[in-house]
């Protein structure tokens, strides 16, 4: 079977009458469209660029430009947390680690640990949805860079503290979102908008003195333990 030869001229466009006319029409079109295009691009030389020059040359911190509902690093307001453990249970990845006990002297419940592993968290928002007391929430902080892996575990309880017994309506107002995180990690602190970012300035920022995690899984370890060969050669952390 002989394949049909497609027509040389596109059937979709009506061929202009007369080849000579088409010839000069093409010249006119080439010049006029180039002229139009040039004037459009020239007009962009006088327009404001769209680029937001993160992180330094901006009018206000990027965190404030993000929408309210942005799901950034998690933060818990311990004044409102009742240690109901709902968030720990619902987290699909198990990155929330809460421990509490009864103080034998006072008989009150005390929370001894509230850790969130932001290296493991996938920012799904389930925990924040579940919290009935508006204690756990996403902030608009996203610059979560830290210098060592164990700093990725945020310790919201430094020393054992009493669990609140108040009803939701009586609790203190939720602290401004992000304010707790900013105190914990200097990198989360708002820089002055016009301050120029330099590597030295960043390195000179004090590394937060965080308690070394004891029983929490190390973020460096999951990679090794996930590998099939991890069982053959246990890392020092896994050994005990």
């Amino acid at each position: 079977m002989v394949p049909t030869v497609p027509p040389a001229v596109s059937p979709h466009r009506r061929p202009p009458r007369g080849t000579v006319r088409a010839y000069f029409r093409n010249i006119r079109l080439a010049l006029s469209t180039a002229f139009d295009g040039m004037s459009v691009t020239m007009s962009y030389m006088f327009r404001r660029p769209l680029t937001i020059q993160y992180p330094d040359k901006i009018d206000k911190p990027v965190q404030e430009m993000l929408p309210e509902s942005y799901r950034g690093v998690l933060e818990v307001d311990m004044d409102r947390c009742t240690v109901c453990l709902q968030c720990q249970k619902i987290c699909p990845l198990g990155c929330i680690n809460i421990e509490s006990c009864k103080n034998p002297e006072t008989g009150n419940r005390e929370v001894t640990k509230f850790d969130i592993d932001i290296g493991l968290c996938m920012y799904c928002g389930l925990c924040a949805e579940t919290c009935n007391f508006d204690a756990l929430d996403h902030t608009r902080e996203f610059e979560a860079t830290v210098t060592t892996p164990d700093q990725m575990i945020l310790h919201f309880v430094e020393k054992p503290r009493e669990v609140t017994k108040l009803k939701a309506a009586e609790m203190p107002v939720r602290k401004h979102k992000g304010s707790i995180l900013q105190k914990m990690i200097p990198a989360f602190g708002r820089r002055h908008p016009q301050e120029v970012w330099t590597p030295t300035a960043y390195a000179a920022a004090p590394v937060p003195a965080l308690k070394a995690p004891t029983a929490t899984p190390k973020p460096a370890a999951p990679v090794a333990s996930a590998a099939p060969s991890a069982a053959d050669s246990p890392t020092p952390e896994q050994a005990p």
Partner: protein, 423 residues
């Protein structure tokens, strides 16, 4: 007498107290001055090609609503140095299956072809390395050496993409040589000489004395020369030899480090060459308005140096304006297809440029220079030029105004952000 000759004679006269015509070692002074001149031309290429890469990227940024490189040095003006140093430090790779001698020699051939053209570019009234009597022909001939270099690069790399790029580039250069030569021929006919200084001398400082506004055929020849020069320089919209979407990078795909930089360097140098040739052939070259070349030649001492500097500045200014136009064209027009490229050349540019050369001949035979018809023609062409410029400004303003109010409503800020305001 050009400035290098003059300087060499001055050197002999003042330093050795000898007459340059009879002194037996005059040729040494000439050799030294030629060497220094070559170095100066090289420095001009380097100093021009480097920052223009940065300027082009800034302009491209603004055209695309971006900002462009602005972190390296004040407003990013040292970006080109950083890029250059990076290329110096990269390893010079040679593919295992490459044709080694061809592969290694190709960048130098390309660069030599470009650099050779600088010999006859008249930068100022007497600032020229050598005023050859075949100047324009020499430029056309020596820049054709680039074709050999590109073919060598394409073939020597032993890569199909490089070969495609090299062959495309050769086909393109050879085709577009024809219309560009015909357009320049119109100028040569008008000036009656091939010498670049002679062509500049046949024009004057005022726009109505430039060849571009002499008659409609020369106006058309200018546009056609500009198009074919862009095509010869492998610039967008004719950059098929390096079409990323089809052949990744073209002839320079296997190159790295300094050799790669040489290709880029040649491309930028070539941009200047085509702008300079268009300037000298159509836009009056270095001619200072109201000052005749004789007056410059007769000037003495600092006046002479001042005229030279002014003419140099005028030439570089005109050339730079054209370079900016080329840059803007690059960021405006999309790339042509291979067949469209060849159609543009052989169906449109070649017959039209032949026609314009013939038209110039006819007008030269029929119209007396300086006569009333000549002046009417010059005035009409100048008017056409002004009208085009006016229409352009109006169109730019209309495009801007169409979006201004909406932007203000949406963003709460003024859209106006002039180019001199660097973000």
């Amino acid at each position: 007498m050009n400035i290098m000759h003059y300087l060499a004679d001055l050197l002999v006269r003042s330093l050795f107290k000898a007459d340059p015509a009879t002194w037996p070692y005059t040729w040494i002074a000439y050799a030294v001055v030629i060497g220094v001149g070559a170095l100066l031309a090289f420095a001009f290429v380097a100093i021009f090609a480097g920052p223009v890469t940065w300027i082009e990227r800034r302009i491209a940024g603004r055209i695309q609503s971006r900002i462009g490189p602005n972190r390296n040095g004040p407003q990013g003006c040292l970006q080109w140095l950083a890029d250059g140093i990076k290329c110096w430090l990269k390893e010079d790779l040679v593919p295992a299956t490459a044709d080694k001698p061809l592969y290694l020699a190709a960048p130098y051939l390309v660069f030599t072809g470009m650099f050779g053209a600088f010999v006859v570019l008249p930068f100022g009234a007497h600032v020229i390395a050598a005023d050859l009597n075949v100047g324009l022909l020499y430029i056309l001939a020596v820049t054709s050496l680039v074709v050999v270099g590109l073919l060598m690069a394409g073939w020597g790399s032993n890569s199909k993409w490089a070969l495609f790029g090299g062959v495309r580039s050769a086909a393109q250069l050879v085709s577009y040589e024809v219309p560009s030569a015909f357009s320049l021929m119109a100028v040569v006919l008008m000036a009656g000489t091939l010498s670049t200084q002679g062509i500049v001398g046949a024009q004057g400082g005022w726009p109505w004395q430039w060849f571009v506004f002499r008659n409609p055929f020369l106006f058309a020849a200018f546009i056609m020369y500009f198009i074919s020069a862009i095509a010869e320089g492998n610039r967008t919209p004719f950059d098929l030899p390096e079409a990323e979407s089809e052949i990744i990078a073209g002839y320079n795909i296997e190159y790295s480090g300094m050799r790669f930089l040489f290709f880029l360097f040649a491309e930028w140098a070539n941009m200047w060459i085509m702008a300079a040739v268009a300037t000298l052939a159509f836009l009056g070259g270095w001619q200072i308005p109201g000052i005749s070349p004789e007056r410059i030649a007769e000037a003495k001492g600092w006046t002479f140096v001042g005229w030279q500097a002014l003419s140099f500045a005028i030439f570089v200014f005109k050339g730079t304006c054209l370079v900016f136009t080329i840059i803007q064209i690059r960021w405006t027009l999309p790339r042509l297809r291979v067949d469209q490229l060849m159609i543009t050349c052989w169906k449109y540019l070649v017959p039209l440029s032949m026609g314009s050369a013939t038209g110039v001949l006819l007008l030269m035979a029929l119209v007396r220079e300086g006569g009333i018809v000549d002046w009417v023609m010059r005035g009409a062409m100048l008017l056409v030029g002004l009208l085009v410029a006016g229409a352009y400004i109006r169109k730019v303003r209309a495009t801007f105004m169409a979006d201004r109010d909406n932007y203000k409503k949406m963003e709460g800020r003024d859209l106006w952000y002039p180019p001199y305001r660097l973000p």
